[in-house]
Amino acid sequence: MSSHPDFEKMSCPLPLMDHDTIQLAHGAGGLLSAQLIDKLIVPRFTSPELDVLEDQAVLDLPPGRVAFSTDTFVVSPIFFPGGDIGDLAVNGTVNDVAMSGADPIALSVGFVLEEGLPMSDFHRVLCSMETAAARAGVRIVTGDTKVVGRGSCDKIFINTSGIGVIPEGVRLSAGSLAPGDTVILSGTLADHGMAVMTVREGLSFQSTVTSDTVALNGLVETILTAGPGTKTLRDPTRGGAATTLNEFAKSSKVGIKLDESTITVRPDVAGACEILGIDPMYVANEGKLIAVVPAAEKEAVLAAMRGHEHGRDAAIIGEIVADHPGLVTMKTGLGAERIVDMSVGEQLPRIC
């Protein structure tokens, strides 16, 4: 071995470029950030607006009022039966925009990644976002990625914002409900919430329950075509159907009367709810909507919904009444009447 250093063979130690986990440097704005964006993210979300990689997306929108919504997704675990945080983040914001009657056009995506997140997990989330966006017919046009130290977030948080354009003549409002209007639910309740709960730490048990996460903009279009007089649409996510219906009753200062026998819950979901002592009316859905339509249009809307793949199990579940403004009541299976209240915080499994 020579005692003199060999300058000929000297090279600068380049940082390791192939990482199997997310590093803080992936969010630092340098080479690793660029690589993550170019190699992993942009190929999944290709769109004319995104591909130019400017600091903003510039959109040409069709004429009409613009609906704009944002939501942040922090679900744990990030993968659950029937979906993951990626398709949830796309479908959730698409649905929030679509409930105004708008045709969702474009989404922004903001990632907060935890240092150490397996690259394969991030890739899997990106792939499901790509698929969900394609299914919903929306483009992901701008985005941002931040990395935080281990423990500063739980694996991955995703914010999505979306815009859509509302067709001429459509003005939906939860404040426009009147006695006589009909309440239609697009399908079974509680699938998403129970799917997540069955795999949550400490509660896991084997089940066949899967999330219903899906984009509902197609179903919304179908409803508005069949029922141009539709009063309001809302997807009963957190807090479940009970919370959405209470919001309707309060916004319009009307009562709502439901018929318990018309509300359906899948047998496996009902079983999971029974085991945990949880009421499906308060459990989150990610692929269902509640429509309120004038009585004259109820049959047409119901038939159209049942003809759509995401509304096959649609049913009329109740009506708007002048009695008890602000309160939702339900005819029980036995024929008595009870209140369906707002939920008080998180649903918790009972002792016995």
């Binding site: 309160l327 299976g333 009870r338 918790l348 499994p349």
Partner: protein, 364 residues
């Protein structure tokens, strides 16, 4: 769903209601012991469908409700400890102590975890040998075997970092306390089906004989409850008090001997404070003296914490069936599920919470 749908069958329920109407000739006051039954009665509106002669009053059988404020205050102190993993069933997390609840302790950095089985807490103790794992063991006879089994398992494994705050309560002494009150108006009981699944019904025979009341072990679905009410009414009308089981698919006369044995091995009977009611002699279970190493209240030296309950709330009278929730001036105004003043509004199974949730309409 099998074993559920048939017990929620509207036609069966209608038939039973008709039989109850035929059987009843005068007013009767019947108490359902268990909070789960109260919840079911309100959820299905059974109280609205019964003939006017029958008054249902709601018993003390909600373990969350009757857990004394003092126990919660002690739990909060332990849960805030640095080296502690504090575990509990879900619905205890929201129960307020004097100034705080477990959710808030968690938000300030306490390691508070919801478990579905006490054996999960034992598993945590096994996996975290350098931390103390404490389980809040509350409930009636129903949950006692599982909670006792957790101590038995921890002892067998030599886990010195597992302990329980035990605040178990027993149904028969509470029934005696209610029946021996001069103001008592309860004439018959629907006994708590799941308690009887463990304990059987032999311990109710002397109570039925002494106080001359019918006691009917009853399930939790609408058809179960209506069958229990029908049998109670029939016994009352005939003037033949006694114990008759109507939860046939679950309850045996001896209960579950294996479960009772593990409870006896780990716990012993003690005097117990009930939130809203006060002290009832020999109405609770505590960890046996020889197993004191698993008694969290001793281990963490919190036995000195003594809390008196606020006087405004009438939950004591409600838990004894003397008053109904809407007879309280604070009901639905100062006292709501988000701002509970007392025991019966605290848990979703408490009578006040069930009234608030399902039948506020027309009461205000």
């Amino acid at each position: 769903m099998k074993y559920l749908d048939e017990f929620r069958d509207p036609e069966l329920a209608k038939g039973l209601l008709e039989e109850i109407r035929r059987a009843v000739t005068r007013p009767w006051v019947i108490m359902e012991i268990c909070g789960g039954q109260t919840h079911s009665i309100m959820r299905y509106g059974i109280d609205q469908l019964l003939p006017d002669e029958i008054t249902l009053v709601h018993g003390p059988g909600c373990p969350v409700c009757v857990t004394p404020l003092e126990t919660i205050d002690r739990a909060l102190v332990i849960a805030a400890g640095d080296d502690v993993i504090f575990t509990s069933f879900g619905d205890m997390l929201r129960v307020p102590g004097s100034n705080d609840d477990l959710f808030r302790v968690k938000s300030r950095g306490g390691d508070v975890r919801m478990v579905y089985s006490p054996l999960e807490a034992v598993k945590l103790a096994r996996e975290n040998p350098d931390r103390e794992v404490v389980f809040l063991a509350v409930g009636f006879e129903t949950t006692a075997p599982g909670n006792a089994m957790a101590v038995k398992q921890a002892a067998a494994e030599g886990l010195s970092n597992f302990s329980e705050i035990v605040s178990h309560v027993l149904v028969p002494p509470a029934m005696e306390a209610i029946l021996s009150s001069p103001a008592c108006r309860v004439q018959g009981f629907l006994a708590a089906g799941h308690v009887c699944a463990i304990m059987g019904w032999e311990e109710y025979e002397p109570i039925a004989a002494k106080y001359e009341v019918p006691i009917v072990p009853t399930g939790f679905e609408p058809v179960d409850i209506l069958e229990g009410i029908l049998k109670t009414v029939q016994l009352l009308e005939k003037g033949t008090p006694g114990v008759e089981n109507k939860y046939l698919r679950v309850v045996r006369e001896q209960g579950n001997p294996a479960a009772r044995a593990v409870v006896d091995e780990i716990y012993e009977v003690c005097d117990r404070k009930w939130r809203g009611i006060g002290n009832i002699p020999r109405s609770g279970l505590k960890i046996r003296a020889e197993l004191a190493a698993f008694d969290a209240e001793k281990k963490f030296e919190v036995e000195g914490i003594v809390t008196e309950e606020p006087a405004i709330c009438i939950s004591g009278e409600i838990l004894q069936g003397l008053k109904k929730p809407h007879e309280c001036p604070a009901f639905g105004t100062e006292c709501t599920p988000t701002t509970p003043l007392g025991a019966t509004m605290v848990s979703s199974e408490g009578a006040c919470a069930a009234y608030h949730k399902y039948s506020r309409k027309g009461l205000s």
